[in-house]
C-alpha cells in the first residue's frame, strides 16, 4: 500500500520500508527494461546466432556453421562494398577532424590580441559556430536528397555553377567510382564538421588562458601554439572524436542509399540492406557481425595509436 494508506505503526517498520523500496524499484524498471530487452538486446543476440544459419525470414533457420562467412569471403560485391566503407573509415575522420580543428582553433584562438586579450576568437566567431552546425540538425535522409540534387549532372547546383563559367561539369554520381566516393566523402564531412567545431571549441575553451599567455610571451606563433599547446591539451577529445567519426563513417547508410545510385558504388551497410531485401536474412546478419567486429577493431586501434600520457591542467 502507498504510505498514506499504511497504518502509522507499520509505515516506519524496517521490513515494510524495504518491501516498499523493492516494489518501487521493480515497478519503475519493469517497463523500460522489458522494452529494452525485447527490442534492443534480443535482436543483437539473435543477430549473432542467425549469422550462422540459412534463415530466410520463415520459421525455419538451419544451423549452417560458417557458410555465410565463407560466402561473404567469396563474394566480390561484398569486398567492393567493404573497400568503399574502409576508405570512408580512414579518410572521413581525418578530413573532418582536421577541418573541424582548424575552424575551432580560429574560432577560439584565431583573433589573438583582439580586445587586448592574449587569446580570443576571431570576429563573428559565434555566428560561424551557429551556421557551421546547421547540417547537424537535419535528417540524413534530407541531407542525402539535397546533395543528390546538388550533384545532379544536368540540373545540379555544382554543374549549374560550372556551366556559368563555361566548364562542363562531370557526372558526379553517374558511374565513376572515384567521383562517387569524393561526393560521398564531401557530404559526410560537410554534415559532421560543424559538430566537431563545436566539440573542439568547447575543449579549447576549457584550456586556461595563462598557458596561452605564457606561450605568447615565449614568442610562439599561432601554428606553434596550436601544435605545442592546444593539440596536446585537447588530445583526449580528439581521440574520442576520431573513434566516433570513424564509426559514423562505417555506419553511413542513408546518404549512400538515397544519394548514390546502386550501380556506382555502395557501402557495406547498403549491401547488407539489399541482402535483407532479397530475403537472405542469415547472410545479412553475418555481414552485420563483420561490421560490428570492424568497428570494434577500429576503436581498439585508435585507442592504442592515440594513447598518450594525459596532461592534467
Amino acid at each position: 500500500m502507498p504510505p498514506r494508506f499504511t497504518p502509522e505503526r507499520v509505515r516506519y517498520d524496517r521490513r515494510y520500508r524495504t518491501l516498499d523500496k523493492y516494489r518501487f524499484i521493480v515497478g519503475f524498471l519493469a517497463v523500460p527494461l522489458a522494452f529494452y530487452a525485447l527490442f534492443v538486446i534480443s535482436p543483437f543476440l539473435q543477430a549473432i546466432y542467425y549469422s550462422f544459419t540459412d534463415w530466410s525470414g520463415g520459421p525455419v533457420a538451419n544451423f549452417v556453421g560458417f557458410d555465410n562467412y565463407e560466402k561473404m569471403w567469396n563474394d566480390d560485391r561484398f569486398w567492393d562494398s567493404l573497400e568503399v566503407s574502409v576508405l570512408l573509415l580512414v579518410i572521413a575522420p581525418v578530413l573532418t577532424l582536421v577541418l573541424g580543428m582548424f575552424f575551432a582553433y580560429m574560432i577560439t584562438s584565431g583573433g589573438r590580441h583582439r580586445r587586448g586579450r592574449a587569446i580570443a576568437g576571431v570576429a563573428g566567431s559565434s555566428v560561424y559556430k551557429v551556421v557551421y552546425f546547421f547540417p547537424q540538425v537535419l535528417s540524413v535522409a534530407i541531407i542525402a536528397v539535397v546533395w543528390g540534387r546538388v550533384f545532379n549532372t544536368n540540373s545540379g547546383l555544382i554543374n549549374g555553377g560550372l556551366d556559368k563559367v563555361g566548364v562542363d561539369g562531370p557526372a558526379w554520381l553517374g558511374g565513376d567510382e572515384t567521383l562517387g566516393l569524393i561526393s560521398l566523402l564531401t557530404v559526410i564531412s560537410w554534415s559532421f564538421i560543424g559538430f566537431y567545431v563545436v566539440l573542439f571549441s568547447a575543449a579549447m575553451g576549457a584550456i586556461p588562458k595563462d598557458i596561452y599567455e605564457a606561450a605568447l610571451l615565449d614568442g610562439a606563433g599561432r601554428a606553434r601554439t596550436f601544435f605545442n599547446v592546444t593539440l596536446p591539451l585537447i588530445w583526449d577529445t580528439v581521440r574520442t572524436g576520431w573513434i566516433y567519426m570513424g564509426i559514423q563513417a562505417l555506419d553511413t547508410f542513408a546518404i549512400c542509399l538515397v544519394m548514390v545510385p546502386p550501380h556506382v558504388l555502395k557501402v557495406t551497410p547498403v549491401f547488407l540492406y539489399e541482402r535483407f531485401r532479397d530475403g537472405q536474412y542469415g547472410y545479412a546478419t553475418a555481414i552485420g557481425v563483420v561490421l560490428l567486429l570492424l568497428s570494434m577493431a577500429f576503436s581498439l586501434i585508435v585507442m592504442r595509436v592515440g594513447n598518450r600520457d594525459r596532461i592534467e591542467y
Binding site: 504510505p3 523493492y22 518501487f24 519503475f28 517497463v31 523500460p32 522494452f35 529494452y36 527490442f39 534492443v40 535482436p43 543483437f44 539473435q46 543477430a47 578530413l95 577541418l99 580543428m101 575552424f103 582553433y105 580560429m106 584565431g110 583573433g111 590580441h113 576571431v122 560561424y128 557551421y132 547537424q136 540538425v137 537535419l138 535528417s139 542525402a144 539535397v146 543528390g148 545532379n152 544536368n154 547546383l157 554543374n159 555553377g161 556551366d163 556559368k164 559538430f195 563545436v198 568547447a202 614568442g219 610562439a220 606563433g221 599561432r222 572524436g241 566516433y244 555506419d251 547508410f253 542513408a254 538515397v258 547488407l272 540492406y273 535483407f276 546478419t285 552485420g288 557481425v289 560490428l292
Partner: protein
C-alpha cells in the same frame, strides 16, 4: 570541395617577437596567412548554408526553370509549389505522421528513460550495476546489426507497419543513451531533498514526480532536445519497420521516396518545396535554442 581544401594551420615563417606592447596591438602581423584563414572561415559559411539557401530559393521556381538553369534566381514566386508539395506530394500527411509518432515516442522515451535512470542512480539493490552496464553497452552497437532480427521481432508482435510499433522502436533505441545520460545527471542531485520528502511521508513515486523530476529539468531539457532531433530525423527504423503503406511514411522517409519518384513525374518544384518545409521547422528550433541544441548534441554523442 572539401577534399581540395584540407588545411591545417600552416607554419608561420618565423616566430614573432612579442613584446608586451605587441600583445595589446590590435593588428595581427600574420599577413597573408591571416587573410587566407579568414577567407576560409567565410567560405565555409557559404558552403554550410549554401545548399540550404539554394533549396529555399529553388522552392519558389517552376520545374522547367529549375532544370534549365539550376542556379537561377526565382523570377516570380511560385507559391503553388508549396501547396502541391503539401497536398499532392503528401508532405502534409508525412508531417502529420511524424508529429503523431514523435508525440508518442518522445513522451515514452523521456518517461521510461528518467524512471529507469532515477532508480539506477538513487537506489542500491542487487543487479544495479549490471542493469546500468546493460544500458551503457547498448550505445556501442551499430543499429544495423540488429536490423534483421528486429524486423522479425516486430512482425511476431504484430507491430510491423503500425504507429505504436514505430513509437516502441524509437523508444527502445533511445533508451540506452537517455538512461545513461540521466543516470549520471540524477547522481549529481543532492540527496537531502529526497530524504526530507521521505521523512515527510511522500511515497517513492511522489518523490520522483514532484521533487526529483523538477530538479532534473536542465538534464531533461538537454536529453529531450537530443531525442527530439534524433527521432524527428530518424530514417533507418521507419525504412525497415514502416515501409508497407506510402501514406504512413514519416517525413524524411517520404522525402527520400519523393526524390526517387520525382525522377519520373518531374515536379521538381514540389520536391524542393517539400525539402524546404521539412528543413524549416528544425532550423527555426535550432536558431532559437542553438546553445542548448549544441550542448545537448555534443554531450549526446561523446560519452
Amino acid at each position: 570541395m572539401t577534399t581540395t581544401t584540407t588545411t591545417a594551420p600552416q607554419p608561420q615563417p618565423q616566430p614573432q617577437k612579442v613584446s608586451s606592447s605587441a600583445v595589446r596591438r590590435e593588428k595581427e602581423t600574420g599577413g597573408a596567412l591571416n587573410v587566407f584563414s579568414h577567407a576560409f572561415l567565410i567560405l565555409w559559411v557559404v558552403l554550410a548554408a549554401g545548399p540550404l539557401i539554394w533549396v529555399a530559393l529553388t522552392a519558389f521556381r517552376p520545374s522547367a526553370e529549375i532544370l534549365s538553369d539550376p542556379m537561377g534566381w526565382p523570377a516570380s514566386f511560385h507559391w503553388e509549389n508549396f501547396s502541391n508539395a503539401w497536398n499532392k506530394a503528401n508532405i502534409g500527411q508525412y508531417t502529420l505522421n511524424s508529429l503523431i509518432i514523435l508525440a508518442g515516442s518522445l513522451t515514452g522515451t523521456m518517461l521510461l528513460g528518467s524512471m529507469a535512470a532515477y532508480v539506477i542512480a538513487r537506489f542500491t539493490f542487487p543487479g544495479n550495476r549490471v542493469i546500468f552496464m546493460l544500458f551503457a553497452g547498448g550505445m556501442m552497437f551499430p543499429v544495423i546489426l540488429a536490423l534483421v532480427p528486429l524486423f522479425a521481432v516486430m512482425e511476431n508482435f504484430g507491430l510491423l507497419d503500425t504507429r505504436p510499433g514505430l513509437m516502441i522502436a524509437y523508444i527502445a533505441y533511445s533508451l540506452p543513451f537517455t538512461t545513461f545520460f540521466l543516470t549520471s545527471f540524477f547522481r549529481t542531485l543532492p540527496t537531502g531533498v529526497q530524504e526530507a520528502a521521505m521523512v515527510d511521508g511522500a511515497s517513492h513515486t511522489r518523490t520522483f514526480f514532484q521533487i526529483m523530476l523538477p530538479m532534473a529539468k536542465p538534464g531533461l531539457v538537454s536529453i529531450g532536445i537530443f531525442n527530439f532531433l534524433g527521432q524527428w530525423n530518424q530514417y533507418l527504423l521507419p525504412l525497415l519497420l514502416n515501409n508497407e503503406d506510402e501514406k504512413s511514411y514519416v517525413l524524411p522517409q517520404g522525402l527520400a521516396s519523393l526524390a526517387v519518384s520525382q525522377g519520373y513525374r518531374g515536379d521538381w518544384g514540389a520536391l524542393f518545396a517539400g525539402l524546404a518545409i521539412a528543413m524549416l521547422p528544425v532550423l527555426v528550433v535550432y536558431a532559437v535554442f542553438q546553445r542548448q541544441v549544441q550542448a545537448g548534441l555534443t554531450a549526446g554523442a561523446i560519452k
